[in-house]
Symmetry: C2
Subunit: 219 residues, 2 copies
DNA sequence: ACTTTATATATTATCGATAATGTATAAACA
DNA sequence: TGTTTATACATTATCGATAATATATAAAGT
């Protein structure tokens, strides 16, 4: 079935554009976001900009002080640690529930995403590897059939995206390794072994976080 | 130090009023929320209403279909199960981190909140018991010093509030019991014993969820 | 009768302008 | 000089009105 056309409101577009600017680092932590300036820039009125900023606030990309203004949020090593420690707490629940729902068809799909990751690793394509990495974990969250957790994951994955761009100089040396980290996760899924899968996942988190923690460039 | 005056914008007020109506059941799942009607009702314009609805959407109280409308979200037994399973996954992280930061002063504060709960239990004051229950767990989340998790908790506690109102006929028979469930948690905190505390917490979740699961009135 | 197309209507999404609020600077006062 | 009060300015918050989009109903065509 072809994907339905998604109506793309102005506020959605502004939100995506701003988010991209923040993730890519064009807008830096502390930068002020003036509603009317942005509106003029994108040739829209204040209303969709406010909506966009409100969404970015909820995803943690900006901080809003009422009557004062909106600023790009900081994203320090502490925030990164928070994302990893949080995922370590939550994703085991996703894995357990996913395994109790997973079908052979799902396993094929996950395997294919894993192969895409390997391919991206071979080609040293950071952006693609990131995309497939997120897709892999998103698939597991979807299988978990847990609406609340899925919403939280959407925020987490945005944050993970931001981390990815902040830390790409680290990953760049290890693209193949990062992709390969998902093999034990996939194998455990095939065995429907939740505990083994969780252990593999935690090893994955630990590998990445260890690399980042020791990196001097990121404060 | 006295609490600072908080500027209370119109959208904040509308948001709180609507949330209250939903929590208390005056607005029922599926009810349509017409922006201009609400605006006229509360004697404000459309803009603050839209902002309020956007926040309610993020907290899961309403669902928004672009260009179609906003509707009060459903809150079924499945949603309740999600909240409890999610808290069981996340709150252990909060407890571990809280214990590594907790001071004697904090313990006194928590004890005093616990005593407020007991008092509310004695007086059969459901609303107060709820309030102090949330305050107790919020205190622990604050101690955890984990911004991301705290934001998630704010949504969780809103949902917990909604559950509370949906299930008050159950709690009503067990107010003292519910309050008492926090004693082992508090004791473990005094001992700085994370594992014992997590076990006590899980018993707490299990007690409440068991009561709800078996309740025929809630679908 | 059953699609398709036109029309009317309801509602959200967006606009441009104004009001409320906060910040910085200058004037008045002790 | 240091502190308070007044003034000007910048920015957000809100308003009332219009444009865009969806839904329901009626008309036309097959």
């Amino acid at each position: 079935m072809p994907k339905l056309v998604k109506s793309y409101t102005l506020s959605d577009q502004v939100c995506d554009l701003l988010k991209d600017s923040i993730i890519r680092g064009d807008l830096k932590p502390g930068d002020r976001l003036l509603e009317l300036d942005i509106a003029k820039n994108y040739n829209v009125s204040q209303a969709p900009v406010r909506e966009a900023l409100s969404r970015l606030k909820n995803e943690g990309f900006v901080i809003h002080y009422p009557h004062k203004g909106t600023f790009v949020s900081n994203f320090s090593k502490k925030n990164i640690e928070e994302v990893y420690s949080f995922r370590e707490a939550v994703e085991p629940l996703a894995i357990k529930r996913a395994i109790s729902n997973i079908t052979d068809d799902d396993l094929e799909k996950l395997k294919s995403i894993y192969e895409d990751m390997l391919q991206a690793g071979k080609e040293n394509d950071l952006e693609m590897l990131n995309k497939h990495d997120i897709a892999f974990h998103t698939y597991i969250y979807k299988l978990a059939d847990h609406e609340f957790m899925f919403n939280v994951w959407e925020n987490l994955s945005s944050a993970s995206n931001r981390i990815w761009y902040l830390t790409n100089q680290i990953y760049f040396k290890n693209l193949n390794e990062v992709a390969k980290l998902h093999e034990p996760i996939l194998n455990a899924l095939y065995k429907r072994d939740a505990e083994e899968c969780i252990a593999a996942f935690k090893a994955h988190m630990k590998f990445v976080w260890d690399k980042i923690r020791d990196e001097e460039k990121i404060k």
